[in-house]
Symmetry: C2
Subunit: 182 residues, 2 copies
DNA sequence: CGACCTCCATACGGGACCGTATGGTCCATT
DNA sequence: AATGGACCATACGGTCCCGTATGGAGGTCG
């Protein structure tokens, strides 16, 4: 039988995480998916928590900066914001990992990752709003506001998608609202 | 020993739900809290799912219309919206049940309740934005937008509260953004 | 070719929870 | 006082998961 690497395990764990949440990152079901047994898992990781931690940190490495880099390729800050929302709300489908993390915010393996990712993203949004000419404190409020819209919309699209009608138009409404003066 | 009613069970279940999510609505731990045993639970409910369902429907009855009624006591639609956001974001602390439901959106007992509550709330928001003079389709978009802000902010406040700085000011920023023209 | 080391299968003993079975207690009724 | 029903404790078997113990297959290196 084939050997498995640490990445094989975090790989299936990532898929399970997206599909079934943190609770689905369970050694025995993952072993079944891999066609292996728990022996392999407990060889590569000391326990289930370590596997989960490695999985979350892999996701953090591979997904946090990616979007920012894409967005930074355009010059105008307003276009950056539009592209950001567009990218992130087009395939909300695969922001399932984020929702899984929010749903398990009290898990000791989740909490620090969630904190880092949230800080990074809101920090970046603050920069964008500062570029748009907002004062520092207002920029922060708008950043929190914008990120709230993203989180809420992701939740809606995954839990009750029928309430969201015209996504393209919603995107524009969101933009105008978020950059609105006075 | 004292007798327990159906409401005693949904009562502890509600507290457990807010504290530990849907998974915490488990018969044996709840029985321990009540100073009872599983025998009582399985007398009042056919199974765990029925207990969960009854708990969610009790929450729906007691919390969905309450806020709307409060808000409807003021005349001006903009003040309604302000009061709505204020009420709902002041004690975000006890919107824990909502987050628990979102986190368990795939549970067959959760799904229908979540659908009804979401539809009702967004429907009401649509009315408010229509009163504010927005066209029907725009009103719907704003309603979805406003509800997204609420959901996202509730998530932020419960998962990473440190990113939210001045809640009072954030409320005003949110309002001006959401009712912004053009 | 034998000693080792890496990786994993197998097998086991927990623990938490679900649901059932059974009998006992208290209370209202007759 | 006896009977029946509402309510619950106890005890049990079953499932799913965690984590450990142990040994074995396959490659590596002297």
């Amino acid at each position: 039988m084939a050997r498995r690497t640490r990445d094989d395990w975090t790989g299936v764990a990532l898929r399970a995480l997206a599909e079934g949440g943190v609770a689905a990152v369970a050694v025995e079901p993952l072993a079944a998916r891999l066609g292996a047994t728990k022996g392999s898992a407990y060889w590569h990781f000391p326990n289930r928590e370590a596997l989960l931690k490695a999985t979350l940190e892999r996701w953090e490495r591979e997904h946090t900066e990616a979007v920012i880099e894409i967005v930074e390729s355009v010059p105008e800050p307003l276009d950056k914001l539009r592209l950001l929302f567009a990218t992130v709300l087009e395939h909300v489908e695969d922001s399932a990992v984020e929702l899984a993390m929010l749903a398990a915010k009290d898990d000791p393996a989740v909490e620090p990752v969630l904190r880092r990712v949230t800080d990074r993203r809101i920090g970046y949004l603050e920069e964008l709003f500062a570029e748009l000419g907002f004062d520092a404190d207002v920029a922060h409020q708008r950043a929190v506001l914008a990120y709230s819209v993203y989180l809420g919309q992701a939740q809606l699209l995954s839990s009750t998608p029928h309430v969201v009608k015209a996504r393209r138009q919603l995107l524009e409404e969101t933009l105008t609202a978020v950059v609105c003066r006075a």
